[in-house]
Assembly symmetry: C2
Homo-oligomer: 366 residues x 2
């Protein structure tokens, strides 16, 4: 792994400054306020058009937010203006050193910002992605592959960007037939993207794409998630993306590796879960697992991910269950996209897993 990806000379001093501001705010109010909240508040001030827009974008309890602003005002990082608040030079430099920056405006113009419109992402990066994706390896059953539409990949990028999980972040992608790592790197937003996959074909494809496109911050490594997470990756990332196999064992194993890769509280993770292969009691089990390991759900958008039809449809175990054996002609396999955020350090073991992680009674595509 390139050392440059995970370290930045200015960031240590900047992080200390932010922590000092955080502690000062925490002392003033009896309301939880985390480092991640302080980051959100800072980014909101970079993005906002006025005071109330900053409250809206901060996604932090107003009481804590106002205390944080008070601290920024006292230390000369923020000033009052007739229209509201204005970040001063030192605060802009601090945000820059922390790698924080505003996200582009990506909300869907049709619905009061309720949805996201990936078409608002720069056209050139979407085109470069499309061109590369044409040569992607075909989905194979041995690894329970099946990739999402390009539109879905960009909707995921749009959501993560708008939630502060992309800009300046160190991203970990576990299993990537969706090419999330490539889209993330092409966006130019992340500090570093490490993508791991058990499939040699995908790893080579991503390495070649990174070389061809000059994406220095994208690194692809072969890794079988049944083996423990290498020490060098533990606690080193801000955000993970994964779209795991859905046996309860495979799913929680994948999420465990993702959670272990996060730096701790404030780290965010994204993953998919279907109805086709997971009953609601399994969904509840997954939610309990996440809460038990210090994570809170902050988004759960059903039907967010749409999958391109794959070639091995007639070899799926569910093919034999069908009353009429017709191949699908349109998108039918959807999944719910989840965002979690860590509130505590997860207590997870980094152990090897033996045997079949793909199958349980509810599995359909393996």
């Amino acid at each position: 792994m390139s050392a440059s990806g995970l370290h930045s000379p200015n960031s240590a001093v900047a992080a200390e400054t932010l922590e000092a501001l955080l502690r000062a705010a925490q002392e003033r109010v009896p309301v939880p306020f985390t480092l991640r909240d302080a980051e959100r508040a800072l980014v909101a001030l970079l993005e906002a058009e006025d005071l109330w827009d900053a409250i809206r974008r901060s996604r932090v309890p107003m009481r804590a937010l106002c205390a944080f602003w008070e601290v920024l005002l006292e230390r000369g990082l923020l000033e009052r203006t007739e229209e509201g608040l204005h970040l001063k030079e030192d605060a802009l430099a601090l945000a820059h050193e922390l790698g924080l920056g505003p996200a582009p405006e990506l909300s869907c113009p049709r619905c009061e910002g309720r949805g996201l419109d990936p078409a608002r992402l720069p056209e050139d990066i979407r085109e470069r992605f499309s061109r590369l994706a044409r040569r992607r390896p075909e989905a194979i059953q041995a690894f329970d592959q099946g990739f999402v539409t390009e539109e879905t990949t960009w909707a995921r990028i749009a959501l993560a960007w708008s939630r502060g999980d992309l800009q300046g972040r160190r991203i970990f992608v576990l299993g990537d037939d969706d090419l999330m790592s490539l889209a993330a790197a092409l966006s130019g937003a992340p500090r570093y993207v490490l993508v791991v996959d058990v499939d040699e074909r995908l790893v080579r494809f991503l390495q070649e794409a990174a070389r061809a496109e000059g994406l220095d911050n994208l690194e692809a490594v072969r890794y079988d998630l049944r083996t423990p997470l290498p020490e060098a990756w533990i606690g080193k990332f801000d955000t993970f993306f994964t779209d795991p196999t859905e046996s309860f064992r495979g799913l929680t194993l994948t999420l465990s590796r993702g959670l272990l890769a996060l730096h701790g509280p404030g780290g965010a993770g994204y993953f998919g879960l279907t109805h086709a292969e997971s009953s609601l009691p399994k969904w509840a089990q997954v939610q309990r697992f996440l809460l038990e390991h210090g994570a809170v759900l902050t988004e759960l958008r059903d039907e967010f991910s749409a999958y391109a039809n794959w070639n091995y449809i007639e070899q799926m175990r569910s093919w034999s269950w069908l009353p009429v054996q017709l191949r699908p002609t349109r998108t039918w396999y959807l999944s719910a996209w989840h965002r979690i955020e860590l509130l505590e350090q997860p207590r997870l073991r980094n152990e090897a897993a033996e045997g079949d992680i793909f199958n349980d009674e509810e599995a359909a595509t393996t």
Copy 2:
């Protein structure tokens, strides 16, 4: 309460038929499959364009779904056609007697159905709502009121309709300055809507609106949720909507009343939660509370609800925290919209609550 609202002569026989089909399917596969799943599968067959579209719309594990289809085929309720599956007359009658029906297509055309487009709801009902809403009571602080935009109310209706929580359902609305009950009744979809509020002004307004619009299935009753839920409402509803005050005590009390009003497993509930008044640790507490009481989260869409600015902004406790005291000129108060579904009978006490349910350290608008 009108007896007609909660009983239907044909529904008991139809419910028995569906339960028999359900049991037959359950015996064939070792995968959870509930009555609600069977309903979803039936509605999907009413809505779907082909076999795969039916899988997509069923939101049920494929293995259980295929077993259910097998049972329907054997009992002559479903037939194979060249294009896939076709519901026969008896099945259509069964769905009708159960009050089940297809939902209109409401997905946003911009984003592969990822978002919902309330503008696809019939224009006349939206106009009738707008005309009535012009005379709505003003939001007052005593009850922590503050209503959502009309667009938000319709987005909530669109989501509930598309999730099978409106058509033919008995709806319980707890606290309704958002006028959800009126929008639901105007849609013509629910079997019955009971709306309760502590605010006499709202109850009268809704009663008058129901009378003026000839909405026989809409009933408004004054109720203070600090008192136990009347026996007649316990276990009688399919869906609840609420947008509670956010002190942990007020929130869980409101959710408890909502959960108690549901008929049991398969019942669904919708509620809002903000960042402005609730930290992520509080969100996690709420999620644990729901899971402990037999509910699973099936949607969590942040920034779904947008609130019209209210008049008492300068009387909010958070006004004094602001570094610059400017009134907002645009929408700033947003909340995340949650859908839960019951998997088990919740074990909750129906007790009176004393004292202040509005305040905790994170409260901002009270």
